[in-house]
Amino acid sequence: MRQPLEGSQAIARAVVAARAQVVAAYPITPQTHIVEHIARMVADGAASCELVSVESEFSAASVVLGAAMAGSRAYTATASQGLLLMGEVLYNIAGLRVPLVMTVANRALSAPLSIWNDQQDSMAMRDAGWVQLYCSDNQEAVDTTIQAFRIAETLEVPVMVCVDGFTLTHTLEAIELPEQEVVDRFLPPYRFARALDPLHPKTFGTLVGPEYYAEMRELHHRALLAALEVIPRVDEEWAAATGRASGGLLRMEGDSEARTGVLTLGSIFGTLADAREVYADCRPLRLVHLRCFRPFPAAALRAAAAGLERLVVLERAISPGAGGIVTAEVRAALAELDRPPQVHGFAVGLGGRDVPLDLLPRLLASLPPRPGPFRIFDLDVQKLPEGGS
């Protein structure tokens, strides 16, 4: 049944429906409502998970790591500085090949302090060895959260579900929550084959010398690459069970014959899709939602970009001193095509800057004949000091 729910509330219900057994989190805007809703369900007796209060995100990540190692289905959520504080543990979780699910309520990073939405936080963790999936709306956030447990447990890798802070977490809209029986069939009780067992003690995460470390990294790399097969398959199975797909590795919309494409990740995809309908000039356009950023779906991207003369990448983060993060990876993947499209890269919506409907026609009208250097679109140069940094 479609029901009006705040994004955070819907995500919390999805975590409970997935029968997460241990949840540990530390509140941080804009993630707080997710864990508050889970806590309320536990208090009301509507959820039976063990909710662990911790004193920091470092501890939250450590608690769910321990819980998952002990064989529990575990979940945490954070954002921004909280994600950075988890950093060391995140690499350990991934390196230990522990299945876990975490929601990142995407938010800008300090300094300067900003509580608002962009995707610099999860981009900063792109090399942690986690799967990263980006959601374009709250229905995808619900469905992807449940799929994430299945992906994590199939491959024994952690999965980060990235949901734009405020823009999705604090928006109420009609959301379909799956029936409990559907979720139970999709996510049977999990048995972690390497669960800690005092009767059969093993050592994990121990010192590995130069003669083995590279091979361990190779195995981790292969496990993430294997997710390129698993992620679309899990999405198809979810679609078969519920009638709703979340976009596999990536999703294409719009004019498949178009010579111009726009690629983005997350909630501004919906604004772009509406803008394409509203502005006649924007109709001959192929839109690509990159749902899966890690592993990077290079082959799927090449297929999606086939026939395009130019592809505009809109990303909500920047690598200072280099430029685009997604843009660079997209350009590298497409360079293998015989006739690669020109790739134009822009940062938009940094630190909560609104991405208005008319951004799309203005952006398309302003594209130079050949891609210039990566830049922030809609910069107000009046606010910059003259000629300096």
């Binding site: 009006p4 405020f166 109420l172 501004i268 919906g270 604004t271």
Partner: protein, 185 residues
Amino acid sequence: MIEIRIHGRGGQGNVVAAYLLATAAIDEGWHAQAFPAFGAERRGAPVTAFVRLARFPFRRRNQILHPDFLIIQDPALLHVPGVLDGLKEGGAVLMDGTKPPAGVEAVALPATRLAQEYLGRPVPNTALAAAFFTLTGLLPLTALAGALKARFRGPVLEANLRLIEAAAAAVEAGRWRERIHATAP
């Protein structure tokens, strides 16, 4: 599409007002979205929330800069620059209070006073939501009652249900019906 911007102060139930309008609409088969102007909300500070209602699916998530309707929960906010900005031509303003200040065209409803009377608390949000649905004829009052039932229980719910009846009776039903024609696609 009908776009609404709600201005109030932290603690007046701004986001709740937006959520109530969207919830009632979704329950009646509309496509709707409600979201706060994201900020560091604190009690007493000016805050804003947004609602979109449409008969067709939509996916945009940009801020509402040109609303069809403004709902002002605290008349003192009318003196804050920018509060009336962007209102569409043919749009309308609903405000808490006894009469609009000079130069402002608005329907005034003493929502805070009604809330104080019925709820014992100065929260104008549910009364203004009831007045909005009544003025526009967009949704029946039963839809708002349904949204309240999903959120409140017991004596608080009962008092709110009486309050929305009183608020609806205090404004002219269908007065803004033509404006809905003017602005809906």
